[in-house]
């Protein structure tokens, strides 16, 4: 038997979570299911969707080089972007977590690239890395480099350039989350380790990393998803080129859905996209049992 207070609390709680619940059903769970279903149809918006079975998926995996390339590119990008992003942020947070004067200004300065809107940054990178009129190549030529790299315009360097320009985000939200986590580690742990004669590196490995590990995991999971969402730079700077070398999954979904109006095919790609993200997340959560430490 539930008491009256419990019933009241239960009802109140559902009122409180109602906006989220409605949003989850209508804008997250519903659309996810619909995406999967539409993946089995041909749909051009003007006529109702037509069931085509596995055709989209078969075509995707056997007869669509651009799709294969977008998968490869997205994984390639993630493979570099995530480790650089997460370890870079952790390193910065670690260095900033001190009582030296002026650190607040540095923290704020490092956050600046993150607050400038993605499209503005994309425009800026496009210009700075322009092979002819860009500042970087102008500098390189002035320094005597006769044929500097073509950056975004060369199929061999376009992905690496995209990874490079993302490095400025190591001073962003992820670093803030690490800093908040570092400040929660009780001083006494460090003092005990210090008295026991643990050196700097040992204190980092044996105190900081284990106590921060749940937050490292959170940042890692979010970073992988973020990386899979890569879109703006590819859309605005290269439009997926040259030779589709910067065609990423979300850009390919967007192009199929809103440029070629192949909503069914785009939904099938979206389904693969969701499956990849869920698999990668589950793998990370499973692997985390080996290294993440939860305090009692």
């Amino acid at each position: 038997m539930k008491t009256l207070t419990e019933k009241k609390e239960n009802r109140a709680a559902y009122c409180f979570i109602l906006p989220w619940l409605v949003g989850f059903v209508l804008l997250i769970a519903g659309p996810t299911i619909v995406t999967v279903i539409l993946g089995f149809t041909r749909y051009d918006i003007f006529r109702p969707p037509k069931w085509v079975g596995l055709k989209n998926f078969i075509r995707m995996f056997t007869d669509d080089e651009v799709f294969a390339k977008s998968i490869y590119n997205t994984f390639y990008y993630t493979l570099f972007n995530v480790p650089i992003g997460v370890f870079g942020s952790l390193l910065l947070a670690f260095l900033l977590n001190n009582n030296l004067p002026g650190m607040n200004y540095i923290k704020t300065a490092l956050y600046v690239p993150t607050i400038i809107s993605g499209i503005a940054m994309a425009m800026l990178w496009m210009w700075i890395f322009d092979p002819n009129s860009g500042m970087i190549n102008t500098l390189l030529r002035n320094m005597g480099c006769a044929s500097p790299p073509l950056w975004f315009k060369d199929p061999d360097t376009v992905k690496l350039t995209m990874i490079l320009v993302k490095v400025v985000e190591i001073g962003g939200t992820r670093m803030i989350i690490f800093l908040a986590g570092l400040q929660n580690i009780p001083k006494v742990y460090y003092e005990v380790a210090y008295i026991d004669g643990a050196n700097f590196w040992k204190r980092f490995r044996k105190v900081t990393v284990p106590l921060l590990s749940p937050i490292i995991l959170l940042n890692l999971v979010v970073a992988v998803i973020d990386s899979f969402k890569v879109f703006i730079n590819a859309y605005a700077i290269t439009d997926g080129g040259p030779l589709n070398e910067s065609m990423f999954l979300v850009l390919y979904i967007y192009k199929n859905a809103f440029k070629s109006i192949k909503m069914g095919y785009a939904s099938a790609i979206s389904t693969v996209f969701i499956v990849f993200i869920l698999i990668l997340t589950v793998i990370q959560l499973k692997a985390s049992k080996e290294w993440v430490y939860y305090a009692e």
């Binding site: 906006p19 949003g23 989850f24 804008l27 260095l95 400040q183 980092f204 979300v250 979904i253 969701i274």
Partner: protein, 291 residues
């Protein structure tokens, strides 16, 4: 030589002077590199197109000119884009704060059926980006006849229906869990209802968390590009992120105008960052240590 400063760890050790110098050199260099995009935007905004084109020689604007700023504001619909972005961002932030504190309070404090299961769904929401479901989302807003209005850019925040929305709920929940329970138990005995506990007692204590949600939500919506791209068709409805690209689609790329528009979009963000920086770290207390 060493002194009372420590690096990287709390309250222990005395860093050697050369180590401190090294940390400073590294961080200050990096900060300057990271500030470069902003500096370049400012410099280009105040250069003449001639100077911009010859930037091989000219780094510093000589002389500084207001020409671009005046031109962009008088000859292009930039003010309109700013207005639309302000509307989207303002209403989205309010929605994000309300929806995340309501749900975060419930998940952090109240007992209810399926709480753990539902919270798992919140976390699942952090894993399904809106990019993956853009087609049904578009179809929904099309059925509701909301394409080419600002509503599809605002509504999801009110329903916490985004990766970020779920993250804000998580932030609030962790924060609520760190607030001692005695405080609201006392209020309960005084006969306060749950909504009063939320609005009168918990809300004021949540200020740091709300501060960081405010900043994150501002950045998320002020820079929202993909949704604007998908949902907005007519120029009069464009927000700033789309507007910045507007200058690229003309016959040639007008860098002065693009940088000017970018600067206009960066200024409010920078003001917010400098005035709210103290909340950034205080608000994101994810470890939920019991206070």
């Amino acid at each position: 030589m060493s002194n009372k400063y420590f690096i990287g760890q709390q309250g222990v050790g005395h860093a050697k002077n050369w180590k401190i110098a090294l940390v400073y050199i590294f961080l200050v260099t990096l900060a300057l590199v990271f500030l470069f995009p902003l500096i370049w935007m400012i410099l280009t905004t105040f250069k003449t197109p001639d100077q911009t084109f010859n930037h091989k020689e000219i780094f510093w604007p000589t002389p500084w000119t207001m020409e671009n700023v005046i031109k962009v504001f008088s000859e292009t619909p930039l003010m309109l884009f700013v207005k639309n972005s302000v509307i989207v961002t303002f209403f989205s932030i309010i929605g994000a704060v309300i929806s995340s504190t309501l749900a975060g309070f419930a998940f952090g404090r109240l007992k209810f059926r399926f709480r753990n299961l539902l919270f798992l769904l919140v976390l699942l929401g952090m894993m399904i980006p809106s990019q993956a479901t853009m087609i049904p989302r578009y179809l929904i807003f099309q059925k509701l006849r909301m394409i080419d209005t600002l509503i599809p850019l605002i509504l999801p925040s009110w329903l916490a229906a985004s990766v970020q929305g779920a993250f804000y709920i998580f932030i609030v929940r962790q924060f609520v869990m760190s607030i001692p329970k005695d405080i609201d138990e006392a209020a309960k005995i005084d006969g306060c209802g749950y909504f009063k506990i939320y609005s009168k007692i918990i809300m004021p204590l949540l200020v740091p968390a709300i501060g960081s949600i405010l900043i994150f939500s501002f950045l998320e919506n002020w820079g929202n590009f993909l949704d604007a791209l998908i949902y907005l068709n007519s120029e009069s409805n464009f927000t700033l992120p789309i507007g910045i690209q507007y200058f690229q689609t003309q016959d040639f790329v007008d860098w002065n105008k693009i940088m000017c528009a970018s600067l206009v979009s960066a200024v409010p963000a920078i003001v917010l960052l400098f005035s709210g920086q103290k909340y950034l770290i205080k608000g994101v207390n994810l470890s939920a240590s019991k206070g």
